[in-house]
Amino acid sequence: MTATRSIFLPLGILFLLTAVAILFVPGRQAPFAADSIPSGPMKAGTFDPPQTAPDFSLPASDGSEVTLSRYRGKVVLLTFGFTYCAAVCPTTMSTLAQARAKLGKAADDVQVIFVTVDPARDDSASMQTYLAAFDPTFVGATGKPEILAKVREKYGVTAVKQGTGTDYAMAHTSSIFLIDRSGKLRAMMPFGHDAADFVHDVRILLDA
């Protein structure tokens, strides 16, 4: 009886101490050090320090020439894909269109650029029709395969043809690059984030 009591007493004290300690849980730490990213933690992956986004000059879906420098002063959401894409690209375009809609007036300072990885099928006219279905402000970029390959290389984007004949697909990097008003490549959002995450990060870049 005495032995049983002598076991339960220290055990009881231990559990009591543990329970008390749990009540004083320290606050969760921020994922980043305060001085690491001045504009606060973003939902996208961030580059530190940010560098100037590689520029390019490509035939645009609206018949003009698309360059990044043309959109200085705006936040640019740059993505790579192809209009015959069955799932990833339509989802991305739809998400970005939703994000722009949620941004309201601030969306005037946001430009989406869609660079094709399939110039054999994506000419300016077909890209214009495709993009307008999501948001008429979206701009497509196409061009010669070797020029587009160089652009992809500068962003570390891959694109590999899968299948043969006319019904082929392109396996490609599905991330979206976030470029700030000064033309700096600030972040990369992997595929799968919703419109709210884009709104969150775009607001950070617009307010910076």
Partner: protein
């Protein structure tokens, strides 16, 4: 005999206390970042034909503990490291907010794939005990 009984009691208290602590005590880590670095000279070594595997094929993160993948390029050349191209001296930090399994194209690997598994935040009890055990065995 009496000393043996006392010793048994002390051991029992320590074991139960230790398990109770491991299962219930909040887990905390100094930084939420899990850092991987490309060492200086990597590109030269690769050009010389050396087969370098800097990044594991599968990275395991835990929400609330280590949920920011940090990739730093200490080399003089740009590298595709994990899911993106990272310039010399640059760090790429990718936060994860949901428990998930993510596949990224990664040219740093022979099969071109990087998998990032994000485990849920360990809840008090068995999950926390298991997380502590895994952290301890990985450290050792």
């Amino acid at each position: 005999m009496r000393n043996a009984k006392r010793l048994a009691i002390v051991l029992a208290v320590l074991v139960v206390g230790g398990l109770g602590w491991a299962a219930l005590w909040p887990v905390a880590s100094g930084s939420r970042e899990q850092l991987y670095q490309i060492p200086r000279g990597t590109s030269e070594r690769r050009l010389a034909g050396e087969d370098l595997d800097i990044l594991p094929h599968t990275i395991r993160l835990t929400l609330g503990q280590k949920d920011v993948l940090a990739l730093k390029n200490n080399d003089a050349a740009p590298h595709i490291f994990g899911p993106t191209l990272i310039m010399p001296g640059q760090t790429f930090r990718l936060p994860f907010t949901t428990a998930s399994t993510n596949s990224f194209v990664c040219t740093a690997h022979a099969d071109g794939q990087l998998t990032v598994v994000v485990d849920p935040e360990p809840t008090p009890g068995w999950q926390r005990l298991r997380w502590r055990w895994r952290s301890m065995t990985e450290t050792v």
